[in-house]
């Protein structure tokens, strides 16, 4: 029964994150754009209305006449019609003579700041008009008549309503399309994220409804590449988990199967010893009990070693190894003296490195099992060696005996191979370790009989020599 796993959302959803980023982007961009367009709008408004001011001031300056030694102004209506282009703005103007006397206009019209060096062109400046901010221009007209000589200055000013209105309008015209584009971007990103998230939702649904023991791969078709990476990694993980499960199951069933017989035998021997009527019988039974127990210990060692090898095959990283060193290690450990005292093991290695990519522990276990099989079931002389044949590297063990029964050749590599009649310390478990190692590192087992005896090899793809 599939158990529905409650999903506790940790942190914000991707949608929220992206939306938040987009909104922040839009806000910052919007504020920047608004500020920029406000500045440029204000600049444009200032320039165009400054031109009006200047036009009006020039009109007025043009209308100044000298009559009887006095400057007279015939104020032109056209100047005020120009100013009325800013229909809601108040107006101030003044025409002043050389000695600052007011010729006409409003006496409270401000004068241009004088601290600046005298410039001949029009001078624009900001000032107030009855407490309201206003913009002014002052132009100077010079007279050199017989009866009048000097400067007449014309000041014209206007409040800022039309400028402000134009600034706002220009800003809105610039910002409005951007705002619409921003909303469109927001909608587009929501839709895109939603459609991109749909495969993830499907995966989440699949995982949530999946049987916890179902470790079959998830489909990777029609998912975005980024998601496929995750899926494939997950599939690889599940496959590994599946193999580990299998290995565990195998270990348990093997152990059960293999331990049942020796343990039963031990119990029988122990009972026999208990029931023995004389010392001779008891000694014989105890002696068998000891051998059985020792043999059980060996079996347990092998089973654990096999489990370890299979576990490592999936988890240990592959390293560059020299098979000659593996063979040397096996001989150096002198384990064979415990198995078959008095038997000498020959080491046959060449000058050249025989390199493979594998796990040292697994290879050593495999080689040791091959060697102990030869020592137990073969006939001396026993030799171990490593060599390279084209693209393949071999770790081999040779003895003078007949070797494995030929009917088993085709079934090399099967997990469990002990004829019911076999003894506990048979070659079955040892070979299955070798088979597991061969499979894990893309290799195989080869058995060959000749007149000299029997040679069994673990054949692995050779590693390319390091440059």
């Amino acid at each position: 029964m599939a158990e529905r796993i409650a999903i506790h959302p940790q942190g914000r959803s991707l949608l929220t994150r992206v939306l938040r980023a987009v909104i922040v982007l839009l806000l910052v961009g919007g504020v920047l754009a608004a500020a920029t367009s406000w500045f440029s709008g204000r600049q444009a408004a200032r320039e165009s209305y400054d031109r009006l001011l200047l036009g009006a001031a020039s009109d007025i300056a043009e209308s100044i006449r000298i009559q009887n030694g006095e400057a007279m102004v015939d104020l032109p209506v056209s100047a005020f019609q120009l100013l009325a282009q800013a229909p809601d703005d108040r107006v101030s103007y003044a025409v002043r003579g050389p000695d600052e006397t007011l010729i006409t206009g409003f006496d409270d019209a401000p004068k241009a700041p004088t601290e600046r060096p005298r410039i001949t062109g029009p001078r624009f400046f900001d000032a107030t008009m009855q407490g309201e901010e206003a913009r002014f221009v002052e132009i100077t007209r010079r007279f050199a008549e017989r009866d009048f000589s000097g400067e007449v200055r014309v000041t014209v000013g206007q409040t800022l309503r039309a400028r402000d209105a134009m600034t706002t309008q220009l800003m809105l015209e610039a910002v409005l399309p951007m705002g619409l584009a921003g909303i469109a971007l927001l909608v587009a990103s929501v839709l895109t994220i939603r459609s991109a998230m749909r495969p993830l939702e499907a995966i989440a649904d699949d995982l949530a409804t999946r049987d916890p023991y179902d470790l079959t791969p998830m489909p990777t078709e029609n998912v975005p590449r980024e998601v496929a990476v995750i899926l494939e990694a997950m599939n690889r993980f599940m496959a590994r988990l599946d193999r580990q499960f299998d290995a565990m199951r195998n270990l348990i069933s093997d152990s059960a199967h293999q331990l049942r017989t020796p343990v039963a035998a031990i119990r029988v021997q122990a009972e026999t010893a208990l029931d023995a009527e004389d010392d001779t019988c008891r000694d014989a039974a105890l002696d068998r009990l000891v051998r059985r127990t020792r043999s059980l210990g060996t079996l347990l060692d092998q089973m654990l070693s096999r489990a370890l090898v299979i576990h490592r095959n999936d988890s240990a990283p592959r390293q560059r190894l020299d098979l000659r060193e593996v063979a040397l290690d096996i001989v150096d450990s002198r384990d064979h003296e415990a198995i078959a005292p008095g038997v000498e093991v020959g080491l046959v290695i060449g000058e050249d490195a025989v390199e493979v990519l594998a796990d040292a522990f697994s290879l050593t276990e495999a080689g040791r099992n091959l060697l102990s099989n030869a020592l137990k079931h073969g006939a001396p002389p026993v030799r171990i060696g490593a060599d390279r044949d084209g693209g393949m590297a071999r770790l081999w063990v040779e003895d003078a005996g007949p070797g494995l029964p030929p009917e088993l050749d085709g079934r090399l590599g099967e997990r469990f191979r002990r004829s019911t009649a076999s003894r506990e310390d048979s070659a079955g478990i040892g070979l299955s370790i070798v088979t597991a190692v061969a499979e894990a590192f893309d290799g195989r087992i080869e058995a060959r009989r000749s007149a000299d005896g029997f040679r069994i090899s673990l054949v692995l793809p050779a590693a390319e020599p390091e440059t």
Binding site: V73, L75, V77, F80, Q81, D88, V91, T104, D108, G131
Partner: protein, 348 residues
């Protein structure tokens, strides 16, 4: 500063003394409400009274303290009130709209907005501070008993011809407003000078016929009716309609007719601005406009009735160009020109 400006302008408009404190010509109390709206105006009480009575009838909590002023005195008073030297009115209603534009330009007015004010055409509204409430033509009136029908001048050109051809029979018998004492007369004369080149010829004709520049609509209309004047130029049509005098014919000059819209403004220091706004909305409402039309303050728009081509209508727009009329240099030159034409002519 504004005080100084007021003084300068007062001097410029011909007064040698500051206006007397009680310069109002007439006053009236309309309604019994507790809230008193003080309205200073150049309009004759008798003409505006029906409109104000209808207003206080609708707003019984209000009463109107109505003061009738001469336009120049009202302008000086408003400037002083703007400078905080005199108690301010709650609303000012003047026919001398150039002075009203100057007041608004001097930041003496208060903003007000309503549906009625926003519906006004742009020539009748400035800055949401000045509104044109009426529409009154500047007309030529003549004594219909004394002036033969074929001699009645329908245009300024006809009037010029008349003055040229029969200067002797017209001598001293043509009248117009004295621009020195009447703000309205100045405004009409000034607009004439902008409108057409006939203005110089008109002044010349007035000089040749020894025309009379005098004050006050009522006197001019009465004198034409009695036959002391044969003809009067640039008389405000609404006063003629109200006086309904005997033997007076009215001409809307067909070359162009100036239309004046009386300006309504709420001063910055008004104590009852809401009431002033309400009165404005009433005057602009259908009912208010109907009453004003009946009082002659809004001239009939129907071309068949007025026999005036729409293109001949010249509205005096409430806008900054009117400021030029008050420019001291400009008005000094204009008055010099006028004075030369009317030199040494006194009331008969």
């Amino acid at each position: 500063m504004i005080r100084l400006l007021a003084l300068l302008l007062t001097v410029a408009t011909g007064f040698t003394l500051a206006p007397p404190v009680s310069a109002q010509e007439d006053r009236a109390r309309i309604g019994n409400g507790n809230t008193v709206l003080e309205l200073r105006s150049t309009t004759d009480v008798a003409i505006i009274r029906p409109a104000l009575e209808a207003f206080v009838e609708q707003n019984p909590q209000l009463s109107i303290e109505y003061e009738q002023w001469g336009s120049n005195a009202l302008y000086a008073d408003s400037l002083a009130a703007c400078a905080g030297e005199e108690p301010s009115a709650d609303a000012v209603f003047s026919s001398a709209v150039h002075q009203m534009v100057a007041l608004v330009n001097g930041a003496c007015a208060r903003d007000y907005q309503s549906e009625a004010t926003l519906n006004l055409p742009s020539a009748r509204r400035w800055r949401n501070q000045l509104w044109g409430v009426t529409e009154e033509p500047a007309v030529i009136i003549y004594n219909s008993a004394l002036l033969a029908e074929e001699n009645v001048p329908r245009t300024r050109f006809a009037l010029l011809d008349l003055m040229r051809n029969t200067p002797l029979s017209l001598a001293g018998r043509i009248a117009t407003y004295d621009i020195e004492s009447s703000g309205l007369g100045y405004l009409f004369a000034y607009n004439d000078s902008l409108e057409a080149t006939t203005f110089g010829a008109m002044l010349e004709g007035f000089a040749r016929t020894q025309a009379v520049a005098t004050c006050c609509s009522a006197e001019i209309i009465g004198a034409v009716s009695e036959g002391r004047f044969l003809l009067a130029y640039n008389v405000l049509g609404s006063y003629v309609a109200n006086a309904a005098p005997a033997d007076v014919g009215v001409i809307l000059p067909e070359d162009y007719t100036l239309f004046l819209t009386r300006g309504y403004m709420i001063p910055r220091q008004a104590r009852q601005p809401q009431a002033a706004g309400r009165l404005l909305d009433f005057l602009l409402s259908t009912q208010g406009q109907t009453i004003l039309r009946r009082a002659g303050l809004i001239y009939a728009q129907d071309p068949e009735e007025t026999a005036l081509l729409p293109s001949a209508r010249r509205a005096i727009a409430l806008a900054p160009p009117l400021l030029v009329a008050l420019d001291r240099s400009k008005s000094a030159q204009f008055r010099t020109l006028w004075r030369t034409a009317f030199a040494a002519i006194a009331l008969p």
